[in-house]
Amino acid sequence: MEIIVCIKQVPDTTEVKIDPEKGTLIREGVPSIVNPFDEYAVEAALRIKEEKGGKVTVITMGPPQAVDALRKCVAMGADDAVLVSDRAFAGSDTWSTSYTLAKAIQALGAFDLILCGKQAIDGDTAQVGPGIAEHLKISQVTYVQKVLGVKEDAIEVERGIEGGYEVIETPLPAVLTIDKSANQPRLPSMMGTMKALKKEIKTLTARDINVKEGFYGMDGSPTRVKRTFTPPPRKGGRMLGGEMEEALRELVKILREEKIV
């Protein structure tokens, strides 16, 4: 079983800083981590490999420093890691990112399964996983919360939906996006950490993956972020003090004035 896991390096903070001019994330000076949802995807891949054999390759598109995120996944147990990196990819939106990743995955050769985290914690779009499936014209199951069984040519999973779950079987190859209830990602071991440190990580550029001109980077991106902002924090509510009866009277008055009742 050839398993590809797409990961993303994200800033290790809930307070993402944004370039007000370009509307893109400022990554400099912020410690980076593997997108937490992607760790569930790596864990799911490792478990399938442990059961069925095969190979787990992690892949990311990003700047050169994204190798740190790949090394973390190798430390967890991934066999191979590939960085897709080219200045020409800068400014890619989710459409061109998923196109570029799909082309890179094709360039790597045959595969059975592609796993992604359900979304990244910085952009929160949840679009790249499904986008890869569309570009590769293979089936996809999103929000996978349990892998039920893997066969030679199909996989059965549990998919979270509003108020319940569905059980879906899909032929392989397929893309799954993994939710955090799927597993508990393992921590890197000492041996894994040392192996990851020595691991040679291949870099694929635009030329290596046969991408079409005008399909990648800022130029290949059909969407533009017009404005990104941090919503203002919620202001505290009004407290009505004093005696209970008095406070209740005041409450009813306010509710009437605001035309709530």
Partner: protein
């Protein structure tokens, strides 16, 4: 001179930080409260190869250097001093001693299990009436054919209740003082070997501390470590390893105390502003930060000497003496920053404060460290 971590050291630090943040810090208060030895976490440490960090690859370890060894202890100390103690004793005091003085047969018997965290050792030197004056021990080992018969008791032995093997120091010649001491590796299942857990400690409540009772324990001569009469030298050389990770653990605990104090100082409002903005609180924080950095540099300096393969007794004594006192100063100040809340187990500085206390007592009191350092400085021994 280079103060940067190597890529290996950086990677070990990152890996250990994540382990401690996910597997240790969230549970340490509960282990302390319940006086519970954290077996599940110790097993995970084993599975992740943490015990094998600084043991050779030949025996299943990662073969990393002395600074990586210190980083592991430092990070464990940041999360839970009890857990750091488990590591120190199992690796520094026992596994590394077998590595340095054991026969190939002994190394093959014990080290792979120790590197994998499946086999644990304890270090039996101290006795009810023999502490700083180790040579005054009364445990005896009497030759009997191909065996030695051990009798006596060992006190305050970390890990004794959970260990698979005990490194026991005993007198093979009662009249030869320090030169009459021999070391033995005694397996737990040997008839006559028993342990009794010690409770009601001020700190390190999640670690196992026990008394070892040796009642006509017959061990084969092949279990002798390093030859007859070599025990005292082995014990002293071993302490160069043990004290090193104690010092590193102190740095980690102190760092945790500082980190908690900084966070609290920014949140706690008094006189209309965070107490972090009060000058006397800043003084406490600054003193803590500098004190910790001094200790950390002493530990890494000792590690540097170890990495060169040189004897590190003096540098380790410097580090152990300084760091064990430092963590007490820092924990005191951290509690001070927390005010009344620091006196409550609701906040982790209370545990750090209690756990800090042992460090100036075990593996050589501060006074013993001073005497060793004094001897190095003056060339005059205050012992004997």
């Amino acid at each position: 001179m280079n103060f940067d971590y190597t890529p290996e050291q950086e990677a070990v630090k990152g890996m250990m930080e994540e382990f401690v943040e996910k597997e240790v810090i969230p549970f340490a208060a509960q282990w302390d409260k319940e006086e519970k030895f954290p077996w599940d976490t110790v097993k995970k440490m084993g599975e992740l190869g943490i015990f094998g960090t600084a043991l050779p690859e030949k025996y299943g370890g990662s073969g990393l250097d002395a600074i990586c060894h210190a980083i592991v202890a430092e990070q464990l100390g940041r999360g839970c001093s009890s857990l750091r103690g488990v590591y120190s004793v199992a690796v520094s005091l026992v596994a590394k001693t077998i590595l340095a003085f054991g026969t190939e047969e002994q190394k093959n018997k014990y080290l792979p299990g120790m590197a994998a965290g499946k086999l644990f050792g304890c270090f039996g030197l101290t006795e009810p009436n023999s502490g700083s004056d180790a040579a005054s021990m009364t445990t005896t080992a009497v030759e009997d054919g191909d065996y030695y018969v051990l009798n006596g008791s060992k006190m305050w032995i970390t890990n004794a209740g959970i260990a698979d093997v005990a490194l026991i120091f005993a007198k093979t010649d009662k009249n030869a003082g320090a030169k009459g001491i021999t070391a033995f590796l005694v397996d737990r299942d040997t008839p006559g070997f028993s342990t009794k857990d010690i409770h009601d400690k001020m700190g390190l409540k999640a670690s196992n501390t026990a008394e070892i009772i040796l009642d006509n324990v017959r061990v084969p001569k092949t279990s002798m470590l390093g030859g007859i009469g070599k025990g005292f030298g082995i014990a002293m050389a071993t302490l160069d390893n043990g004290r090193y990770t104690v010092a590193a653990g102190c740095v980690g605990s102190a760092q945790a105390a500082l980190d908690y104090a900084k966070q609290y100082a920014k949140e706690r409002i008094q006189f209309g502003k965070p107490i972090a903005a009060h000058q006397l609180v800043q003084q406490l924080i600054a003193d803590m930060a500098v004190d910790i950095e001094c200790g950390r540099l002493l530990v890494y300096k000792a590690g540097h000497v170890k990495n060169k393969g040189q004897r590190s007794t003096k540098e380790v004594c410097f580090a152990k003496y300084y760091c064990s006192e430092m963590v007490n100063r820092v924990a005191y100040k951290a509690v001070q920053v927390f005010g009344g809340y620091g006196f409550s187990a609701e906040y982790p500085v209370e545990r750090i404060y209690r756990d800090a206390r042992i460090n100036t007592l075990y593996e050589g009191t501060s006074q013993i460290q001073q005497l060793i350092i004094g001897n190095f400085e003056l060339g005059v021994s205050a012992f004997v």
